[in-house]
């Protein structure tokens, strides 16, 4: 029997509310299936099952807020055949939200009796939950915006208190990349069109394959490299929210796949349809404020990550090269990184690699 617990969807999450169950007792779930929607200070997320199994009981009802780690449901071994049970046992099981497949029968020939179901129901009864005591009216009055602000405040305060940041900045000539995108887009239908962000984030992810010490976490006084390169894409929500869902294995995506992933994740962030894993898996963050017109953005590392890349506005600037000055499309790329893990020299090499990759956009 496995326990499915309220996950921690980020370092700043203490509680979560079960908004909607997508499973019921008796359902067979597979690892990665979306089983529940959870609401946190950062919005509502779809949470996947970490394992395969048959749902034996739901321990927390919809609408209930519980601390991280609380058992939400129990999962048993998947069983194919419907077990034998007395009609009374069957009825009680249905009423109590208990899956017969997960009840051990003690009757003649292993038939499930009403006592067996009662025992299973008692075992599945949730323990008293401290946070659930808040009155509904008070709860409703809590401003979601204020909650989101508090969550952001907690994360950035921890970051600035604990992480010794160092900062680097470089200007990148994007004229080749922009020309390549324009030449691609004129012959592509709108559904396959590219944006510079796709190239920029792909370049960051590819550069990280050679500069792995920027990709991972600082935990318990040591650096733990990330398994995979999952780029958190900072998205400003209208109304003041900020969220950075992960684009998984960003280094392995083609530029076209990256573009689709960006469009998808932004649309789902706006619509409140992000998944739990997207909130926890990011190994580095990219923040891009170019659309707001700023030239340079120097980020605050999202703990326990160890680096954040900032991308400013793409604009024409005077660029001196080969003894003459010309107008070129440029972007200022910055890196804020954890000095406990890397030195400025290493960070500088990483930014140079991002620049180098962007000079051959067709090979990204």
């Amino acid at each position: 029997m496995a326990e499915f617990r309220m996950p921690s969807l980020g370092a700043d999450m203490d509680n979560g509310r079960v908004v909607e169950w997508r499973i019921k007792p008796g359902d067979i779930v597979h690892r990665g299936d979306i089983v529940v929607e959870v609401e946190t200070d950062k919005g509502t997320f779809e949470v996947e099952s970490p394992i395969d199994g048959a749902v034996s009981a739901i321990a927390v009802q919809q609408g209930t807020k519980v601390p991280v780690g609380t058992v939400l449901a129990t999962l048993g071994e998947p069983t194919a055949a419907e077990p034998r049970a007395s009609p009374a046992a069957r009825q009680l099981a249905a009423q109590s939200n208990i899956a017969l497949a997960t009840v051990r029968g003690t009757g003649p020939g292993g038939v499930i009796t009403i006592q067996d179901v009662q025992r299973a129901a008692a075992a599945a009864t949730p323990t008293k939950i401290a946070v659930a005591a808040e009155p509904a009216e008070l709860e409703a009055a809590v401003d979601a915006r204020a909650a989101m602000r508090r969550a952001i405040a907690a994360a950035v305060t921890r970051s600035k208190r604990e992480i010794p940041h160092y900062y680097l900045s470089t200007d990148v000539d994007l004229s080749r990349a922009a020309e390549w995108i324009t030449s691609q887009n004129v012959r592509r239908p709108v559904t396959e069109r590219l944006l510079p962000s796709a190239l920029l984030i792909k370049a960051v992810a590819s550069a990280l394959t050679r500069y792995r010490d920027l990709n991972g976490f600082w935990v318990d006084g040591a650096f733990r490299p990330g398994i995979g390169i999952h780029v958190g894409m900072a998205i400003s929500l209208r109304g003041g929210g900020l969220i950075a869902p992960a684009i998984h294995d960003a280094d392995r995506l083609t530029v076209d796949q990256m573009m689709l992933a960006l469009r998808d994740v932004v649309a789902r962030a706006r619509g409140g349809r992000l998944r739990g894993a997207e909130m926890t898996d990011a190994t580095i963050t990219v923040t891009s404020l170019g659309d707001q017109g700023v030239t340079t953005v120097i980020g605050v590392i999202y703990p326990p990550q160890v680096a954040i890349v900032g991308l400013g506005k793409i604009s024409e600037r005077a660029w001196a090269a080969d003894g003459k000055v010309s107008a070129r499309l440029t972007v200022t790329a910055t890196l804020a990184a954890d000095h406990r893990v890397t030195n400025g020299h290493y960070g500088g090499l990483f930014l140079a690699e991002v620049d180098r990759l962007l000079q051959s956009p067709e090979t990204l």
Binding site: V190, T191, L195, R238, R263, A267, R270
Partner: protein, 84 residues
């Protein structure tokens, strides 16, 4: 399609890419991007929604025609009817 029908489709598309926005507060004659604060990815998703709804594939070079709701309605009406 009439201009009003196109306007309704356009606002619906906008509502899908920017669900937090109060569509009734938008002015047709002011730039959409400053009123709605949409970024380049939102904008591309918006153009894709318009394509899905109206069958009009707005080339990148003509995005300027979508700057305001009024200009977008005029542009889309011209192109939607020529296709129909």
């Amino acid at each position: 399609m009439t201009a009003e029908e196109i306007r309704a489709v356009l606002l619906r598309a906008l509502g899908r890419v920017a669900p937090e926005v109060d569509l009734t507060s938008l002015r047709g004659d002011l730039p959409l991007r400053t009123q709605v604060d949409i970024d380049s990815i939102d904008f591309l998703n918006f153009v894709i929604e318009l394509h899905r709804e109206l069958g009009v594939d707005v080339p990148e070079a003509e995005y300027a025609a979508l700057a305001t709701i009024d200009s977008a309605v005029t542009y889309l009406q011209g192109h939607a009817s020529s296709k129909a």
